[in-house]
């Protein structure tokens, strides 16, 4: 039963991360003591999903939401594209700007995660990020907290988010 549940969870995870592209024709059973008998088949993940998995998913979660400490992407991140500073912000947050991947890969994974987790919130005239845009934007070093506060205020003033709570971060008390 546990194996079945694990297999189900894995299959679900695999189908989630490969959403948006047709699964590859041939999956193969994973040769592993836990999966051999379950017959679990995995389709290869698309490259952008892999980039998300290896660079973002550990903290932001495979469904775009995770621990309270970490900003939720699902149903939220798209709002940022509605004003120019917000669009810049998504490239200039330190873990994107300072990421070891190429400009093209960063553009690809940003476009992928916006479309996958927050398509409904995107700006009506959203244009995908390009590598050259990312290359230019990621040179800047921003004050993340001040920047984010300014953007949320601007979005609220422009009527682009329902309320100030939409993009609020929880107040974390650690100890």
């Amino acid at each position: 039963m546990r194996q079945f549940a694990a297999a189900l969870a894995l299959a679900l995870a695999a189908s989630i991360v490969s959403a948006g592209s047709p699964p590859a024709a041939s999956g193969s059973n994973v040769p592993d003591i836990e999966t051999r008998r379950s017959g679990l088949q995995l389709a290869p993940m698309p490259r952008t999903a892999q980039l998300y998995a290896t660079n973002c998913q550990g903290c932001h979660g495979e469904f775009g939401s995770s621990a309270a400490e970490i900003p939720t992407l699902a149903g939220r991140v798209g709002y940022f594209t509605r004003i120019p500073e917000g669009r810049r912000y998504l490239v200039q947050v330190p873990n994107v700007a300072l990421n070891a991947n190429s400009d093209a890969d960063i553009a690809a994974v940003l476009n992928w995660l916006l479309a996958t987790y927050s398509r409904a919130q995107l700006a009506a005239d959203f244009q995908p990020y390009t590598a050259s845009e990312v290359a230019e934007l990621r040179q800047a070093r921003i004050d993340v907290v001040a920047s984010r506060r300014r953007i949320v205020d601007a979005l609220l003033a422009a009527g682009q988010i329902p309320s100030a709570d939409t993009l609020a971060l929880p107040h974390i008390v650690l100890y």
């Binding site: 546990r2 694990a6 994973v30 040769p31 999966t35 995995l42 290869p44 993940m45 550990g58 495979e62």
Partner: protein, 188 residues
């Protein structure tokens, strides 16, 4: 021949040794002795099967089949050993040795909502899989099966891909118990 020794005991020994000297040849003894010495020392050179004494013969290993050194010595059947293929970047105590499984937490601990994700080569099919290294938190260190895999591990100034730090962010407790390795997906 007239005996030299006068005492009874000495006389007995003398007659015995004279008898032996008359009945045996010194050169014959030497040649016999030499023959046995050579025979005994050359016996192991004979072409007899000696596999039993050779000890456990190392299984013929496919030499450097994969780019990953870890994968070249990995196995897919025993999650309680450090060379289980998913542990290529696992740093800590194996949950499989602590009452959990390779991707399940032991009772009394809870999986951290955050993890770091690396990739390992499965030695049986040679394909690369993404693996989530997720700490189980909430009990003191398990202390069994300490393993240190370092594939893709980066220094701690790249904390997103560093396995030395405790990955209990967001869990109910920051107390580290053991490390699990869940399958995330198949790399392209």
């Amino acid at each position: 021949m007239k005996p030299i020794c006068s005492g009874r005991f000495d006389g007995l020994i003398e007659s015995l040794s004279r008898g032996a000297a008359q009945l045996t040849s010194r050169r014959g003894f030497l040649s016999q002795c030499g023959l046995w010495l050579v025979a005994a020392s050359s016996l192991p050179l004979l072409p007899v099967a000696r596999r039993a004494q050779a000890g456990e013969r190392p299984v013929a290993k496919p030499a450097r089949k994969f780019a990953s050194e870890f994968a070249n010595h990995a196995q897919t059947n025993d999650p309680t050993r450090c060379n289980y293929w998913r542990y290529c970047a696992s740093d800590g105590y194996l949950c499989a040795c602590c009452g959990g499984g390779p991707h399940t937490c032991p009772p009394g601990t809870s999986p951290s909502p955050t993890s770091w994700i690396g990739s390992c080569i499965n030695p049986d099919d040679g394909r690369t899989y993404l693996i989530a290294y997720r700490d189980c938190c909430g009990q003191d260190s398990c202390g069994r099966c300490a393993c240190l895999g370092q594939e893709g591990d980066m220094p701690s100034y790249r904390p997103q891909v560093n396995n030395d730090i405790v990955w209990c962010f967001g869990a109910s407790s920051m107390v580290y118990h053991c490390s699990s390795a869940g399958l995330v997906g198949l790399a392209e």
